[in-house]
Amino acid sequence: MKEEFKIAWRNLWRNRRRTIITAASVFFAVFFAVVMRSYQLGSYDHMINNFIESFTGYLQVQHVNYQDNPLIDNSFGYNDSIVSAISKIDRVVSVTPHLESFTLASSGTQTKGAAVIAIDPIKERAFSDPESKLVKYRITDEAVMRLQDADALPDEIIEKLKKNLGRSYSSSARVELELGLTSEDNELCMPDILKYSEVSNEFLADDDDGILVSDKLASYLKVTVGDSVILMGQGYHGISATGIFPVRGILKMPSPEIDNKLIIMTIPAAQKFYDAKGKITSLVVNLTDKSNRTIKTAKDRINSLLTDKNTITKTWYELNPILYQQIQGDSQSGMAMLAILYFIIFFGIFGTVLMMVSERKKEFGILVAIGMQKKKLKRIVSIEMLFLGAIGLVCGLLAGTPVILYFYYYPIVLKGDMANMMEDFGWDAVMPTAWFGPYFYWQAGIVAIMVVLATIYPLRKIGRLKEIEALKS
């Protein structure tokens, strides 16, 4: 056996160029498959994590019926001790109570349906952080007029401002981006623009009885900070919930759909409004990562902490099955892309093997003619292929590793509208690669299988070898 290995090794290096070409085809196959999959998984994962972390959370404690029937009747009693108990569980990042319902919001003659989310102003900072979404600057008619009067800005910038009339921004960086000023203009004009367009806005105090209204809803209702909004809806156990709430601040929500209907208030105010003493509809739990193991252990441990039989912990994919299926679907289409890549790669490897066999046909013929057993010859060729595959595989993985590492730590930064949108949501506009996981070995495994498949051809060829024909060729 040792001898066979020796012969195989020598055979490989007898025709160095052919060996390198074959090994290179395996190398590129592994390299591309690993890097592509890592990139696919990583960037997609990043987006999903962002989405889950700011919308549903990884886990939610809810009343058992809440998901099917999101009524305030399906709420549950809550206290700080359960929050601190859950916070202590391994890998839990944040625990945020929510009390969510729908009501009518009305001011003057305008009325509109609104999603009311009651929060704990301090705890919420770790989750959706509404404070960062408060409108800081608004380009109003008045602001533009005053800027014109002050005569501090060139006309073209006034024109740009007029194009963005009525827009609101939650940071000065966003104003800059939207106006698209040159850096010179920027330094010159921004202080004035910011000065005149600044809006005063407050966040909710701990036991505030006021509300925050999303920008589009506020402009529909024609309310600003200091005005009042009437809320009318159904409270706990069908009681009529009505109340007047002062507007403390206006929020600019990045999603237009949410911007059209969001009202935020404190949990105590909402409990009073809905007559739901001490109740909330969900506890949103964020974890360090969304691996199955982390989610499952955290879920089990939270479930064991829950004393109320009517409450249950649900995972993000139970809460949002459509998103989950979409992710699965996208992952499948990524796999399909990979399958096409594999297909091309396989024929690359197979082509070089084919070439090798036809080149060595005479050699095989001579070997068999002078008495070498076909069995032995097959073994030697198999070992050769094994070496080739191993060299390509190892080199491919070694070459892929630094690329994956680099893009994991220094991910590709997105630019343009897509990036703006992501930043609006408070997400990083980057596309990182995925850390080494099962996918890494899988790609290597699949390429190894392809090498084995490609080996079948020379073995069959040797099996059917007719010495005379081979010698004549």
């Binding site: 009747d73 009305s106 009318m232 156990h237 069908g238 009681i239 009529s240 007047i244």
Partner: protein, 252 residues
């Protein structure tokens, strides 16, 4: 309690017009039953409504004044969170006054099919109650026994141009006292939507009435709403001007 006894004493003295069945058409029976309950001219009543849902129930107390068929004023007196809300009905329109938000709201047609105060009664039920006489074609469908009382069974089909949600009703009206003991309400496709029953027959303000009305929706049989009449007075001195938006805010 004292009052109740007085009514009892009075009631025993009242001799009711005993009309024989042959003299009455189905329409007249329905009309009689309707007037008996709502008063020929006006009425005042003190009621409580209990809403029963799987897992919880709650009771709302309210006072109600009616005048003719077109005017009604209802004031919620309990629970405290909802007390002071009032509802005004003038003809086909309905308003709601809510003191906690200082607002008078006209209930739009889109809200007519929604539950009144979260009960199984819809706003439309409260508005259109009086049209049982005018909006239906009544037909005698025989006699049946309900709770040991002999009843006319009257089938009522909605008139073609009437704006009512029901396609058909069947009412069982007590022969002697003209009390609606049972009513089945069907939609326009002929499916049973809900059943109402009247029970706990008492004499109040000189009239024998069913003091408990129960409503069972067919599709959610575990849901239930019943109204209990605590006190009722018929033909009280009240004027049309009483049923005004100003009075909605004042009435106690």
């Amino acid at each position: 309690m004292k009052q109740y006894f007085i009514y009892l004493i009075l009631a025993t003295g009242v001799s009711f017009n005993h009309l024989s069945a042959q003299d009455l058409s189905a329409t007249e029976i329905v009309k009689k039953a309707d007037e008996k309950f709502n008063g020929e001219k006006s009425s005042y009543s003190l009621m409580s409504m209990t809403i029963i849902r799987p897992g919880w129930q709650r009771t709302i107390d309210f006072k109600s004044w009616t005048f003719g068929r077109d005017f009604a004023l209802t004031l919620i007196t309990a629970p405290a969170k909802e007390a002071g809300q009032s509802f005004l009905k003038r003809g086909p329109e309905m308003w709601n006054w809510n003191p906690s938000i200082n607002r008078l709201i006209k209930l739009p047609p889109s809200m007519m099919s929604q539950g009144w105060m979260g009960s199984d009664y819809t706003n439309d039920d409260i508005l259109k109650e009086s049209s049982v006489v005018n909006d239906y074609i009544h037909e005698m469908a025989g006699e049946e026994n309900i709770d040991g009382r002999v009843c006319y069974k009257i089938s009522m089909t909605a008139k073609e141009n009437a704006s009512i949600v029901w396609g058909k009703q069947i009412r069982w009206i007590d022969k002697k006292e003209f009390l609606v003991l049972k009513a089945e309400l069907y939609d326009e496709d002929g499916y049973l939507v809900r059943t109402e029953t009247g029970s706990d027959i008492k004499v109040m303000d000189g009239r024998t009435v069913t003091s408990k009305i129960k409503l069972i929706p067919e599709e959610e049989p575990q849901n239930l709403t019943y109204i209990e009449i605590r006190e009722i007075k018929f033909n009280i001195p009240v004027e049309e001007s009483y049923f005004s938006q100003q009075n909605m805010k004042r009435v106690r």
